[in-house]
Amino acid sequence: MLLSLMIFVPLLGMVAVLLLPRESEELVKRVTLFFTLIPLALAVALFISYDRAAAGTQYVVNVPWIEAFNIQYHIGIDGLSVTLLLLTALLGPICVIASWRNIEKGIKAYMALFLLLETGMLGFFAALDLFLFYVFFELTLLPMYFLIGVWGGPRREYAAIKFFLYTLFGSVLMLVAMIAVYLNSGAPGARTFDIPTLITLAATEGHALNNLNFQIWAFLGFFIGFAVKVPIFPFHTWLPDAHVEAPTAISVILAGILLKMGTYGLVRVNMAMFPQGMDFFCNGTGTWGNSLALLGFINIVYGSFCALAQTDFKKLVAYSSIGHMGFVILGLAARNTEGITGAILQMFNHGVISGMLFLLVGVLYDRAHHREINGFGGLGAKMPVYTGITTLAFMASLGLPGLSGFVGEALSLLGAYDKFKMLTILSTIGIVVGAAYFLWTLQRVFLGTLNPKYEALPEINGREILTLAPLGILTIVLGIWPNFAIDMFRESVTNLVNVLQAI
């Protein structure tokens, strides 16, 4: 009940916002903020009350929905989903506050779509029925298309349709795989979309879902769907466009949550349901045995080098996201406790850190109206507080020990080193390059002589600090005390590793 409430409160908020008169903009913003704070409160409540010692799903709701196909409204949370739900619910109000001043037109429609997006994201992380999972997955597409397409930058139309087409392409392949799983799950009448049931069936000797060939193809179908979202090379080209054009708050959601939907899907469906398919692509032998780890490696190195070459601040952060998601893929490919724990932690951390980075880019853009890194210089003296927060975010992102980014990456690499020595060693290039582009950016923007154009640039204001502070605090807390998050999903990871090793 608590969980359902959390998912559908934003939807209720959308209806409420739509009923408000168009002129009362302040009211619209306040109502939206209210409806995003409720899920946050509920998420914190769930986070606290979640039984960390139990491995199974909790807060389960399971009622029939479309009986003709045995589709259920089945939701529940385990350690992984509760972590990501918290992240989603946290970024919700932050993004609303970040949109307070810089959305000029149609604030009502913007907020309504944002609330719809939030319902889609929350529902996705809680869904335990494959059909429901898919519906929520797709539900995020439409609001995102409009949010980028209507409120974005100069090339917004191109970016929005590119994002839409790429994701839809991925998800239709996922749809085929999903239908195939459903059809193979039993005799007509006894078929199911229920994820826990499917996982059990897939582990049952002699069941149609247990067949290696089937697992490989189904794995691929889902994998491409999620890979577009993560994004994994070579499906990543929509991301820089979408990020550059999207308004600040939407970039935060895109990097913070939407990318996580891809990796979350990989864990929830690909790893748990198709352990043999996963094994085929990750066992380190044969033609395909290194492919997933290789993709992770490409993401890390390629993303980092691309980021190094950027002169647009936002594009740099976008490419750095591709690099950082590579660590998640690498960690998952390792299939051991360290690797998966690292990957999940990295998912959460990247959500927090990239959220900060995009907010910071937005702060600068709102003042200078451009994002050209070389166009700044010497801002450190002009905006000391801003510089301090940016430095914190940069250091966290480049993996400075003591801040959260380090723990996730280190654990991922540690896990991966066990299985893919060469690729892991080569992947560390990405960390070096990451340090290089962040430090170089720091130097170009904040050090040196101040560009006289920016003599009058105002310091970061209270509202902006309000959006950044919670994320900054989390970065430090998780850097010092990562068990705060790891405790949540330790049991779930153990469970998953057992499934993966049972084959």
Binding site: W65, I66, E67, A68, F69, G106, A109, Y134, V135, E138, L139, L141, L142, Y145, F146, G149, V150, R156, E157, A160, I161, F164, L165, L168, F169, V172, L173, L175, V176, I179, A180, Y182, L183
Partner: protein
């Protein structure tokens, strides 16, 4: 069960009789109407449709425990399948009449004929959905075709409309001639016009080696020409973009939904009653041919829709593509496949008619059907734009809209039979279709209106919103309601399936 005699049949034939009566009454009343601008005859037709609707339900109730009754010595059949289509067709006709009242392009002088013809075409479609005899099939098809030719050319002052009617009649004559030739082949081989008997005779003859399988295949292809023309499948689709563009918008909407539905009803009954026995299938595998036609139809429709600037024409091509998706369900000899077609037809009725209604509204406002006219609609009329966006995304097949559930059923049926390639073609086509549907959405939401349009536009009336919501609400909800799935499955269960 024995077919009923002519006199006994009349009782079960009340809906069709009522349609005839309504058409005549409409014409007679029209003679006496002084004010040509008034919508009296339109409302009269609606009342007629209402009576027919009640009659359809009552006659269906008279079936009682029987699954079907054969009427007029085996010419037509009353069963859940035909009732399903009758209800669907009545909904489409009602919507078309309502659109026509609101459309400003129709000639006020010809209203009586217009509505009488609409009722007549509905009668023809009723018969298409229930015929079980070759002769009756042909007659019903011709009734529908001849009436559509007139309706397509109804904008007498518009040369494009006349061109549309002319193209329609030329293609139609060739297609129905070919079909008649195919039907005569079948009659010649089996000596009977009854679909059920044809199935038995063909099985015997093929087993005995008395007829060539090739002859049966040729007959099937010829018949498919006639049916394919009605559902606008490749390669018999060429007429439809021109006709859809030239015809009055309500008629385009009607043709794209009702004509297609009736075509599918005929198609399903014909092929599944006549040719689906395993002996026939062994010697003449017509399903592969259908699979190819289906893949081509959706691909051609979608690719041709990509560059269109005229929304009506764009929707015409999209409607061809949807015929392709629907055909996927027909490729399979399963009740799931047919059930999926029926379900999709219901969904398609609402989303496509809804989209056409918006086209009517914009055409009234702008006097054109070009995409430019949709610019800035979101700020001018947010509700209309929102409804249109929902229809278009539903047509693309994006959840949570009904179009997704319809496509899901079709793809599930196709995958179940192992036609993976066909499902892939279908799904990739869905992605392609997003591009052109999104162009309209883009114009509505992402582009600003010209100064001139923005200032001259008038707000839409409450009636408009009420009618729009009749289409929007089902488009959002159908997928979530169990009863629609059950409904389409029951309708399929009465068909003779192998």
């Amino acid at each position: 069960m024995q077919p009923l005699s002519n006199i006994e049949s009349l009782l079960y034939f009340t809906p069709e009789l009522l349609l005839v009566v309504s058409a005549i009454v409409v014409i007679l009343v029209d003679l006496g109407v002084k004010n040509r601008e008034s919508a009296t005859v339109a409302y009269l037709s609606l009342a007629g449709i209402g009576c027919v609707f009640a009659a359809v339900l009552l006659t269906h109730g008279q079936l009682g425990d029987r699954t079907s009754i054969s009427l007029f010595l085996g010419m037509i059949r009353l069963d859940a399948f035909s009732t399903f289509f009758k209800v669907l067709l009545l909904l489409a006709t009602t919507a078309t009449i309502l659109f026509s009242i609101r459309s400003e392009e129709l000639d006020a002088q010809l209203k009586g004929e217009y509505y009488a013809l609409l009722l007549a075409i509905t009668l023809g479609m009723f018969l298409m959905a229930s015929s079980t005899n070759l002769l009756m099939i042909f007659i019903s098809l011709e009734t529908v075709s001849l009436t559509s030719y007139i309706l397509a050319g109804f904008l007498t002052h518009n040369p494009r409309s006349s061109e549309a009617a002319f193209k329609y009649i030329t293609y139609g004559a060739v297609a129905s001639g070919t079909m008649l030739f195919g039907l005569s082949f079948l009659f010649g081989m089996t000596g009977t016009g009854d679909l059920g008997q044809i199935s038995t005779r063909l099985t015997e003859l093929l087993a005995a080696g008395e007829i060539y399988p090739l002859a049966v295949l040729i007959a099937i292809i010829f018949v498919l020409a006639g049916v394919g023309y009605k559902i606008a499948s490749v390669p018999f689709h060429m007429w439809s973009p021109d006709v859809y563009e030239g015809a009055p918008i309500p008629i385009t909407a009607f043709l794209s939904v009702a004509s297609k539905s009736a075509g599918f009803a005929l198609f399903i009954r014909f092929f599944y009653s006549g040719f689906s026995s395993s002996e026939v299938m062994q010697s003449v595998d017509w399903t592969l041919m259908l699979a190819i036609v289906s893949a081509l139809t959706m691909t051609v429709g979608n690719l041709a829709a990509l560059p269109q600037q005229n929304v009506k024409r764009l929707l015409a091509y999209s409607s061809i593509a949807h015929g392709g998706y629907l055909l996927m369900g027909g490729v399979l000899l399963t009740s799931e496949g047919i059930g999926a077609i029926l379900f999709y037809l219901v969904v398609y009725l609402f989303m496509n008619l809804g989209a056409f209604y918006v086209v009517v509204l914009i055409a009234n406002e702008e006097g054109s059907e070009m995409i430019e006219g949709y610019r800035g609609l979101a700020s001018r009329a947010p509700l209309v734009a929102g409804a249109m966006a929902i229809f278009l995304f539903s047509l693309t097949g994006i959840p949570p809209f009904a179009g997704f559930f319809g496509k899901w059923l079709l793809f599930a049926a196709v995958l179940e039979q192992g036609y993976y390639w066909l499902a892939f073609v279908g799904l990739l086509n869905s992605v392609v279709s997003l591009y052109y549907y999104a162009r309209i959405v883009k114009a509505m939401y992402l582009e600003a209106a010209d100064e001139e349009t923005a200032s001259t536009s008038t707000p839409f009336s409450t009636g408009t919103f009420a009618l729009l919501s009749v289409f929007v609400i089902p488009t959002i909800l159908i997928g979530f309601i169990n009863i629609f799935y059950t409904f389409s499955n029951i309708s399929v269960s009465v068909l003779p399936m192998q």
